[in-house]
Amino acid sequence: MKTTTKNRLQLSSIYFILTLLLVVLMFPVYWIVNTSLQSNAALMKMPVKWFPAELDFSSYISVFTNAQFLTFYSNTLIVAAGATALCIVVAVLTGFALSRYRFPGSGMVLLILLSTQMFPAVTLVIGMYAQFREMQMLNTLFVLVLAATTTALPFSVMLMKTFFDGISKELDEAAQIDGASRLRTLFGIVVPLSLPGIIAIAIYTFLIAWDDFLFGLTLVSDLDKRTISPGLSLTYLGEFSYNWAGASAAAVVATLPLLILFMFLQRYMVEGLTAGGVKE
């Protein structure tokens, strides 16, 4: 009897703290939406309004009719989609090689791959700038695709290797005895079985590429090649920094694809993040 009341108290305090936590974590998100639905005039008038007095969609309309913003947006989509596709291909191939074969240099590849995470991006970006300047590849979206892919690659390769390690080697051997080529075995049997892992690295890479700020800021300077993060920073955090409603609306629109992606696929993401640990 005594323990149940104690348990109930404990349980309700857990729910209380969890709810508090959710409020703290969700408040900034709520706040930007709240800001985006008010006019700048209303925002600059005290007291602070916890809810929009009247919904004002004009900031959204100006975001969607702003040709420059739409260019930033589609550039980011291109870079993120390109990086995701490239990263899946490279991570699947490399992960499979590292999982199934022991070859001279395989340890070296793994070491280089993992240590790239330790290289400061700012140092690399200077080297990239010098290198791509000589190759006359600055100001191309392709360079941003490459940079984002490399950022996402170490984790992706490790994740795919772990996934492949979990798929029995006997399965490949059986398929090969049945006459399937190595390529058929990989793409017809192993890849379909590791679809959750592939979805996880796809989301991860997309998020990384969408989030990129430094590469987009330095390797690209043409306005029509700008991506969304440097674009937002240069448009709203600079001289027009009084336009909080506009900035908020642009920020909400910039976040939407990620939130939608996350809502539908977060199960895979959590599974993917967990997969590494489960095998230990």
Binding site: I14, L18, M44, V90, F103, M118, I126, G127, Q131, W244
Partner: protein, 297 residues
């Protein structure tokens, strides 16, 4: 015999096919730029003129002689210590909460991840607005609760700017830390907890004698990951304060960027970059060694 060697050639060909994309990609985006950065760091390499020549370690001497580097290094260390410390502490707390037998656990877990799915630039923008001195909600709330009297200019104050950046970083990073720690916790066998309970261990004892020791490999790798990530944090510093007020938040990443791309001195910029690359690599190797040795004991 012939069949055997043919098999090997085929296997080699397949392996080459598997590995070639990664090798090319790493060559173009890591090895190439790294070698470039190192070679540039030994040159008078300004973006303003086209003549680049070897300058006898001058970039390195200049940096190690000037105060800027040590100042930025100190700021970076302070930032990393607080951000990672809070990430781990709050992340552990959050993971423990989410690991309880509660209803709606998956719901809570997905909601908690949301700050992580928001782009860094958007997080920065949200907090710029929350911190805004005249119309921001933070000053408004603190004033109406009577906690502060005068408005605080959070991001342009010597006392608060770095702390304000740390808060934003922790807001964005803690969920990921929590989910990774949670994943580790769920691998700890339930029977261990039951056995401890039967032996009369309280929740605190269970935490310190079972959860944390068994979680150590996960904690170690998460810690290293967060240290490395925060050591090179650029976006939040650049967008929230740009290194100000008067260099009070000028981290190494900002210093490097500023020298290379705003003062157009690519040579000196990459020399700074190379120095902290070495620092970071050395630290990572030592940290991993130390942690491995301890867990082998």
């Amino acid at each position: 015999m012939i069949r055997h060697s043919k098999f090997n050639v085929r296997q080699f060909g397949f392996l080459l096919f598997l590995m070639l994309p990664a090798v090319i990609l790493l060559g173009i985006t890591i090895i190439g730029p790294l070698l470039n950065a190192i070679s540039v760091s030994f040159q008078d390499y300004s973006l303003l003129n086209s003549e680049h020549k070897w300058n006898n370690f001058h970039n390195y001497f200049d940096i190690l002689k000037s105060q800027d580097f040590y100042h930025s290094f100190g700021i970076t260390l302070t930032y990393v210590a607080f951000a990672v410390g809070l990430d781990l502490l709050l992340g552990l707390g959050m993971a423990l909460l989410l690991n309880q037998q509660i209803k709606f656990r998956t719901f809570f877990r997905s909601i908690v991840m949301i700050p992580w799915a928001i782009p860094t630039i958007v997080t920065a923008l949200i907090f710029l607005w929350i911190y805004q001195p005249d119309f921001g909600v933070l000053n408004y709330a603190l004033q109406s609760m009577g906690i502060i009297e005068n408005k605080i200019t959070w991001l342009s104050s010597f006392d608060f700017a770095l702390g304000a950046i740390i808060v934003v970083a922790v807001f964005r990073q803690t969920p990921l830390v929590a989910v990774m720690l949670l994943a580790g916790m769920q691998n700890i066998s339930r029977s261990l907890y039951e056995a401890a309970k039967i032996d009369g261990a309280g929740p605190l004892r269970i935490l310190t004698s079972i959860t944390i020791p068994l979680l150590k490999p996960v904690i170690t790798s998460v810690t290293l990951m967060m240290i490395v990530q925060n050591f090179q944090m650029f976006t939040l510093f650049y967008t929230l304060t740009g290194g100000g007020p008067a260099d009070a938040t000028k981290s190494l990443a900002i210093l490097t960027y500023e020298v290379a791309f705003e003062r157009y001195d690519l040579g000196k910029g990459s020399a700074i970059g190379v120095i902290w690359l070495i620092v970071l690599l050395t630290f990572s190797v030592l940290f991993t060694r130390l942690m491995n040795r301890e867990s082998h004991r």
